[in-house]
């Protein structure tokens, strides 16, 4: 029965891939709708399938194909896999509903068919990565996922910005695959098989096992966008179509998280320092991600940096899990792992919600610059409510789901006083402080994002003429928003139902209290306040009339924090002034500039690039087209062979 369901899911995804690609010559809407319907139905069924595995706690195995002895593509789903399948299914289903409206408004003619087919294949590839039973099929589907996502990123391939983003993404994603492959090969050398089985570590094999872990960690960290491997997110997400950004940020990053968790839980028996490594990378990504998100004024770039922050939070949870496991604190380890998993799900939901609604906004205004938006709450009321829900969730305000998962992590951090090692205790408290900073900055960041996009008056003609999007583009995000609310309010009940007894407050009670307080406030104000309507302008420092130009902009809002973190941003301010009188009293004109130095680009990416270019130049110089030089190489090679033979004999 359950096998049949899974085969149905695979068949629907395949149908959703093949049909639009086969009909790619004609630009027919029906084909795209059919493909997206297949993807949506398959994703919804996938979520149902995942629940069927999670709730009874069963496992599901399906040998698929064995081309050679020892090498096989096998599927296996346990509770951990099913949890991530649930995440993929939910987000992909909502994205498919949204895409059915979004693709019809896009440029590109029959390339949209490829987009729909590629989306189906992308979701299928991610499903199969999570469902892989051995490292070989994991690597196989991982590479499929990387290749398809590259094609999706390159949708607007004529745009030079997209080409740059595509190349950046391609290099980074192949680097990730390379590291994962090295890890898989190291594991194969250690065990002699591709099975994901617990590794028996002897003192002799310990260095190789550590190397395998490090390779896998870096592979997954690149894919998850952990700082300093994060740069591709910032390029790839803004360049790709919004549903693709939603899938990549919401789901694909989680597949990397899944990979790390799967190998840590099932294969390795981690050391303490592995946990510290993951924790440090995680917390650094969280803090730096949100600081960079705060200063960004491209709405999708801002969301991309915020993804880095949230993945950092998830990695922090995983790091805590490893540390507490090594210290023997089982309950705290469970709470941390639960926090990481729950935040993965929550981030998938609210980040895809935000990317989809941001896509609606970009579609309505034709720009990604939040300084050119403003006042959209009036023209796009439903979209603004949906975005607002996502913003509350990501800013971790109670009682939404972002709050629930971050609260779990705080609980784990607060209980770390029970750790014995004093150095570790200091590290954990420093991380706690940084984590608190992250939460606060994240709230500030989304205050800025929401208010400059939706509130006040429109700051450009495009924003003035914006209109509400079609129903399907509201329906998909609406489901995600509802899920965000429900997962937050019923978090405690969900944990109990899943069988985890942990010290966690009942958010249902909190939300009832909040609702009650809100209602009470409204009633009190309703009966006590004056009903007289008073129409006047805000006091504007003596200016005669107020237009959108006097509004508090996103740049203005972020300026104080940019100044505080100037050492992180490496801001360079410069200004020139000219005066109209000889006493320098009347300001005539001038220029002002704030430059942000891209730290990681300047100090990590560019030196690597320069070194590679230098190496390439040296190699190119060897190839100089002169016959004598090639003869010299042959001569040296012959002498090398003679010497080698002489030494070896």
């Amino acid at each position: 029965m359950i096998e049949l369901l899974f085969f149905l899911i695979l068949a629907l995804f395949t149908l959703g891939t093949v049909v639009p690609l086969a009909g790619a010559k004609g630009d027919r809407r029906s084909i795209r709708v059919f493909s997206l319907a297949c993807t949506g139905a398959a994703s919804a069924l996938l979520a149902a399938f995942a629940l069927l595995v999670i709730i009874p706690g069963t496992t599901f195995a399906l040998p698929l194909w064995q081309p050679f002895p020892g090498i096989s593509l096998d599927l296996y789903v346990d509770r951990l896999g099913a949890f991530f399948l649930l995440l993929i299914g939910t987000v992909a289903a909502c994205t498919a509903v949204y895409s059915s409206g979004y693709t019809e408004h896009m440029e590109g003619g029959n390339r949209r068919n490829i987009l729909c087919g590629g989306t189906a294949l992308f979701v299928l590839a991610m499903t199969l990565v999570v469902a892989s039973h051995n490292t070989f099929s994991f690597l196989f589907f991982w590479e499929l996922m990387a290749a398809v996502s590259f094609i999706l990123v390159m949708y607007e391939y004529r745009d030079p910005g997209t080409t740059k983003a595509g190349i950046y993404y391609f290099v980074m994603t192949q680097l990730s695959t390379l590291f994962v492959m090295l890890g898989v090969i190291a594991l194969f050398v250690l065990t002699g098989s591709f099975a994901m089985a617990p590794l028996a570590i002897t003192p002799a094999s310990a260095p190789l096992a550590t190397a395998a872990f490090l390779a896998l960690f870096f592979g997954f960290a690149i894919k998850a966008g952990i700082i300093p491997f994060h740069k591709w997110l910032f390029f790839a997400h803004p360049a790709s179509p919004s549903p693709v950004s939603a899938l990549m940020s919401g789901v694909m990053l989680k597949v990397a998280v899944y990979g790390l968790l799967r190998f840590i839980l099932d294969v390795f028996s981690p050391d303490l320092w592995w946990g510290v490594l993951i924790l440090v990378f995680g917390i650094a990504s969280a803090v730096l991600g949100v600081i960079y998100a705060f200063k960004d004024h491209d709405i999708k770039g801002l969301l991309a940096y915020s993804s880095i922050e949230n993945v950092g939070i998830i990695f922090t949870g995983i790091g805590l899990f490893v540390i507490f496991s090594c210290e023997g604190l089982t309950l705290l380890a469970t709470i941390s792992l639960l926090a990481a998993l729950f935040h993965s799900l929550n981030h998938a939901l609210f980040k895809s919600l935000l990317f989809l609604t941001a896509g609606s906004v970009v579609h309505a205004t034709g720009t990604r610059d939040i300084e050119k938006m403003g006042g959209l709450a009036k023209n796009m009321p439903y979209t603004s409510v949906l975005f607002f829900t996502g913003a509350i969730a990501i800013a971790a305000l109670p009682p939404l789901n972002g709050f629930a998962s971050e609260l779990l992590l705080y609980i784990a951090f607060f209980h770390s006083v029970t750790v014995v090692d004093p150095l570790l205790k200091v590290l954990l408290f420093i991380c706690l402080a940084l984590f608190a900073l992250t939460s606060a900055l994240s709230a500030a960041c989304f205050v800025k994002a929401f208010s400059s996009v939706f509130l006040a008056q429109p700051r450009s003609d495009a924003a003035t003429g914006a209109h509400e999007v079609s129903r399907s583009m509201l329906a998909g995000p609406a489901v995600l928003a509802a899920a965000c609310v429900l997962l937050g309010v019923f978090a405690c009940q969900i944990f109990i139902a899943a069988g985890y007894v942990i010290p966690f407050p009942d958010l249902l009670l909190v939300s009832i209290l909040l609702l009650f307080m809100a209602g009470l406030t409204y009633l009190v104000l309703y009966f006590t306040a004056s009903r007289e309507a008073r129409i006047s302008e805000t006091w504007g420092c003596g200016t005669k009339s107020q237009s959108a130009i006097t509004e508090y902009t996103g740049h203005g809002f972020s300026e104080p924090i940019v100044t505080i973190f100037a050492s992180v941003y490496r801001t360079k301010k410069s200004s020139t002034k000219t005066y109209s009188d000889k006493y320098n009293c009347l300001f005539g004109g001038g220029t002002a500039e704030i430059r942000l130095v891209a730290f990681f680009e300047e100090y990590i990416y560019r030196p690597i690039g320069t070194a590679a270019m230098k190496g390439a130049t040296i190699v190119a110089r060897m190839q100089n087209g002169c016959l004598d030089t090639y003869l010299l190489y042959v001569f040296i090679a012959v002498i090398g062979v003679i010497v080698f033979l002489g030494v070896m004999a």
């Binding site: 016959l627 004598d628 030089t629 003869l631 010299l632 042959v634 001569f635 012959v638 002498i639 003679i642 010497v643 033979l645 002489g646 030494v647 004999a649």
Partner: protein, 230 residues
């Protein structure tokens, strides 16, 4: 007369002659004497093959001696001399990477390296220390010295001579270290003749005057002297 020790002595003297000619080929700047020395080197090889034939009595050795005599001592030098007369270049004074003196030092070092390497390779066999071992070492050294000529000289004609000298090294190595079948030796010789004929055609042309061919070669940057001109 057929005392092996006598022949060993003769062959050793001939080895020294081979080395002297090779050293001359590496260092000389005079193209005419280069060809003469090459034919002298080939003649020494003929003498070695004859001496071996006297000692061993194998007919193959006599065949090799005859073929080498006809081709490398008479035919090939004749062609090259013809080319040289036409192109009127008498000296090759341009060197790449290595000057003549350093080439000489490097060839000495090479011989030592090859000697050590080969004695390691042949450590377990009775061949070590024998005449055949020396023949192999000198043959291999001659190959590498010829190769040095091919990459350290700029003139095409000198490169050809370097290549021919390499082939002499292969022949020497084949005479002593391995039983090179006669047919292969014969085929290599035919290759050489064709190489030289091709060089001749390229250098002076079969259907044109020298001036015309100069221009043609200049167009393809094959004429070294004019390549230097801007």
């Amino acid at each position: 007369m057929t005392d092996p020790a006598f022949f060993d002595g003769v062959i050793k003297i001939l080895f020294v002659c081979v080395l002297i000619t090779a050293a001359y080929i590496i260092t000389t700047k005079n193209l005419i004497s280069l060809v003469r020395v090459y034919s002298l080197q080939s003649l020494v090889l003929v003498a070695i093959a004859t001496a071996l034939f006297w000692r061993e009595g194998a007919a193959v050795l006599a065949g090799i001696a005859v073929v080498t005599l006809v081709t490398k001592v008479i035919v090939i030098p004749y062609f090259i001399a013809a080319v040289q007369e036409k192109i009127r270049i008498k000296r090759d004074i341009e060197f790449h990477y290595l000057s003549p003196t350093s080439s000489l030092f490097i060839s000495i070092a090479l011989m030592l390296v090859i000697y050590i390497a080969l004695s390691n390779v042949l450590a377990g066999t009775p061949a070590k220390g024998s005449l055949f071992f020396f023949g192999a070492v000198i043959g291999l050294s001659l190959v590498l010295m010829g190769m040095m000529v091919t990459f350290s000289r700029k003139k095409a004609i000198t490169k050809v001579l370097g290549y021919l000298s390499m082939e002499n090294g292969v022949l020497l190595f084949g005479l002593f270290a391995t039983e090179l079948p006669f047919i292969i030796e014969f085929l290599i010789v035919i290759d050489l003749i064709i190489l030289v004929i091709l060089t001749t055609i390229l250098t002076i042309g079969i259907d044109s005057t020298l001036e015309e061919y100069h221009n043609r070669l200049h167009r393809f940057y094959l004429w070294e002297e004019q390549e230097e001109a801007p």
